[in-house]
Symmetry: C2
Subunit: 351 residues, 2 copies
Amino acid sequence: VTQASTRGGIGESRVLDPVGVLPQAAFHLDTTSALRKGEVRVRVTLLNLDAASFHQLSEKHAGDGDAIRREVLSIIEEHGKMHNPVTGSGGTLLGVVEELGPGVRTSLSPGTAVASLVSLTLTPLVIDDGLSNWDGKSPLIPASGYAILFSPQNLISIPTDLPQDLVLSVIDVCGAPALTSRLIRERSVFDDIEPSVLIIGAAGKSGCLSAVAAQEAGAATVAGVVLDETDAKSIEKLQVFDSIIVGDARLPIALAEAVGRTFDITVVCVDSAGCEHGSILVTGRGGTVVFFSMATSFSSAALGAEGIGADLTMLIGNGFVPGHATDALNLVRSSTHLWAHLEERLQRVSR
Amino acid sequence: VTQASTRGGIGESRVLDPVGVLPQAAFHLDTTSALRKGEVRVRVTLLNLDAASFHQLSEKHAGDGDAIRREVLSIIEEHGKMHNPVTGSGGTLLGVVEELGPGVRTSLSPGTAVASLVSLTLTPLVIDDGLSNWDGKSPLIPASGYAILFSPQNLISIPTDLPQDLVLSVIDVCGAPALTSRLIRERSVFDDIEPSVLIIGAAGKSGCLSAVAAQEAGAATVAGVVLDETDAKSIEKLQVFDSIIVGDARLPIALAEAVGRTFDITVVCVDSAGCEHGSILVTGRGGTVVFFSMATSFSSAALGAEGIGADLTMLIGNGFVPGHATDALNLVRSSTHLWAHLEERLQRVSR
């Protein structure tokens, strides 16, 4: 029994080329609207670009919204999916169930408002409004078109007690708090310690969610690294950090000095490249670093740890942990501070 | 206490730019021969290019040895280290201790034959013979020049009971069997199971070493994936595999069908890009995939697992595990089959 067959469709028939790969690795996807076995078609209302992808596009086009919009459209048209060729990342989407394909068993029905739990990098997507309602200056894209999901398990029904853009932005990163929480619990059970946890990029979405999850899971201490005093002030209000350090994770020596100690678990949520070595330096012997940023370089992490003789475990942040989306939304519901912080960030980003 | 200060020098003063990063991330290293505190200078006799790097260079230049040599020389001259800008990987080196810097405490002395335990991507290197004794057709490069190691802990004295090129090629990948072994033991202790282990790329150096390590560490079954019948025949002689599967890990659907089951631990030792999804498909729920190839794509692994809803742990293969080099050499000493297989591969590669 493979992973595939326990999980329903994985979309192999939607791959045009190269033959034999999964949709995420495909260059071109088949976006035919007619549904195949197990598939669900969603009418798209909002796309949320992955932070690393939006950051790269913004930098490349120096914030020129029209140029950014044209490039996003051209990527979607060329590949049949929103898969940033530079960052390798996508994002997620929100919409309404349009049609259920043959053999689909689900509690969802046409008209249900849903969000996707899988990346845009593997989701056949057709845009029919030229993204004309988007100014190119925010990762949240009002959009009209359709997407094909390979299984109803890749969708969740959107709760009505939370704002839609908040739900979408939380779901986009819900793997991070879920895995952080799991690591802390495992450490508690197997090693009988309450681990110390450092969140690098603590003011961002995945960072602040992971910090709250760490506290809930029983971390002995939760510390956060942020880039400037404004972010430091902003996350103080979360009342979850035992210490907040201002520092640049891309400068490993300076970061290690600013942090001044090592942690059992380091959670890397920064969207910029080059944070691997700093993260390793602030993690203690036998500790764990988990990388959630799509800007992480595999070889830089592997060779960096070897180069400084760092005996620690490094994890590729798997975006899937069972129950991750519901758990993350419950975290937001349980903390008014977290809710307010995320809302404030959303407003800042979309300004 | 940071990782750095427990391990001796990490070479920050050798970084020319960008300022503040570690040597592995640096664009230019200072190769001045005068030694600084804690450093050791080694007279280089042999370089061993990382497999992913040599593979990339060979493909790029269609096997033209002169062109490959010129590019290697030009990389070393430009960066002050052998750091392949495409693969991000380096390799390792062998030589003789030339001089110990101020404050160095070690049992090594000038004249001791040594191998480096850290990547060439972070090692200041000067070549003075134009690599004129290398035909560019093998990753093993006879060379003359010097290298600067930041700490004597980054060197191991070369044993005299094994051929030098064998020692070098084993040390280059010794993190793989060490981490494989640790994962199996941890799984045995914490989950009280003898895990099933699949080695993808089982005929290569890191693959066959990891397979023997897996058997020694108590794996319930050890299976191997190889690319063709020749490799399959070749590793049969190791007498370590319960099953050997011929398949291409870059074609995930076909791989999953050929393998026909899932494993608790999958060890990925293939030098090619695009093996992430196949590796995930053949790993069971709650299992672990460890990636050792420098050709691994972080985002492809992270988004691939999410896309198929695979609940598993993915590790960046850390090249450092305490005692890894000695343990790997002992594996070779303990298995005449393994020794013979590695020797045969060396001869094939350097033909």
